[in-house]
Symmetry: C2
Subunit: 278 residues, 2 copies
Amino acid sequence: MDLYEILMKRRSVRDFEDKEIPDEIIDKILDAALSAPTGGNIQPISIIVVRGEEAREKLDGILGNQPWVKRAPVSLIFCLDFHRAKRWASTFGTDFSGERAVWHFLIAYADVMCASQNAAVLAESLGLGSVYVGAILSKIDKTRNFFDIPEYVLPMMILSIGYPKTIPKNIPKLERDIMVHKEKYEWRTDEELRAAYENKYGDFDETAEDYLKRAYIEAIEADKQGNLGRVEYIKGQLDKLAIKSNAEFLFKVRYPSEAMVELNEEITGSFRKAGFNF
Amino acid sequence: MDLYEILMKRRSVRDFEDKEIPDEIIDKILDAALSAPTGGNIQPISIIVVRGEEAREKLDGILGNQPWVKRAPVSLIFCLDFHRAKRWASTFGTDFSGERAVWHFLIAYADVMCASQNAAVLAESLGLGSVYVGAILSKIDKTRNFFDIPEYVLPMMILSIGYPKTIPKNIPKLERDIMVHKEKYEWRTDEELRAAYENKYGDFDETAEDYLKRAYIEAIEADKQGNLGRVEYIKGQLDKLAIKSNAEFLFKVRYPSEAMVELNEEITGSFRKAGFNF
């Protein structure tokens, strides 16, 4: 299978076999991650490799509702790391102020994601499956605390990797033409946008289970793996809020707008506690 | 060549043949990008495909000092796009407030980078070369203006792609052991950090040209491609600031700490102008 096929078929896997990944495979994945492009070749990245039972349990406890992190034989915590360069620079009497510079933060986060996507793609090509867990963004303090992460280092993303037990079917996507613009941004009409999303999500008018299978597989997987109650909770919300459209489901049930905004304080507070200030 | 080799050998290419990339190759690259993982399957991404002479010239003018963007037959502007989801939601009387939520911003930017790295990796496997241009982050206003980019959309990264004329030799990297941590963050001593960086960059005590070839290839490439004066300027700075270490070079000459912090206002100002407020 060529790389194009691999990239097109890749789906997040949350259901892993209880099977170790050999060290040499993990090393290859790490090397691929660390060989990703990095702005100015600064390499402001650290990867914490979580394989032990204790750390997996703990990470599961910190994150909540993400049982795949415990089940996956390996989770990689991708950190944005200014501690290393800062300390190195200071031994030469030089200041690296990445923690005060939005520029450095944004480029370093891009580096983090290039590295993690290299890892995800290589894992896929080796017959492994993986899932990103961004929920760590609202658990930065606890993660830093447990994993002994120094100042100026932010755990930004988890990639959990393992041998897939089941792989989700293709999930609905917007078509290329609505996301790609030729030469300039091509504004679409409300009607075109609605049609594009309807094309993606299909009708809302069906049973909750069928809908969730397509539009919120995480809830179903979480239940299957022991977090019972997730699907029931969502179904309750659908009723209670009288959800009647895909858009309402997404931004009232799954990512309720105000609740997402309320996370700001938590996230920026964690940034400040880690010494970031911009 | 298997994917591991491709990822390990990949180097940023800034020197492109004057040769078009066929449409079907570009479409494949775009499809691979759009098939990348995206948090909650929200797909808050737009890609502007820049191929025309006028837009390439303009982009070059906006960025400055990055002649490869004009030379590359294709540049992809990867945008974080909340405009589309927001307008779609509003047609259902629903509010998507990504522009006020740090969470949504951070996850969406991760999505943008997963997409662009998929594009970079596929391009590489097809015999193309590419280079990321993050300098767009300090030119968001001008880019939004020229490319007719709506509110709630931020151009975050450029990937310029073409057939490589020359490919840089391997560039120095930190070794895996200094960037990877087992189970917990492994703190290193100042001496270990210094040794790791010395191992990466080598001695500072050599001719400026030799040093730049290894540590700042962009300056040399920019000169070769017509931005004459870049290398002379850097050499002047090395003398003037009496730079005597790799760390000083990096954070006094190449990314002067205070100058980087001073960009904050520009970048956050652009975010605000695009309707972002968190």
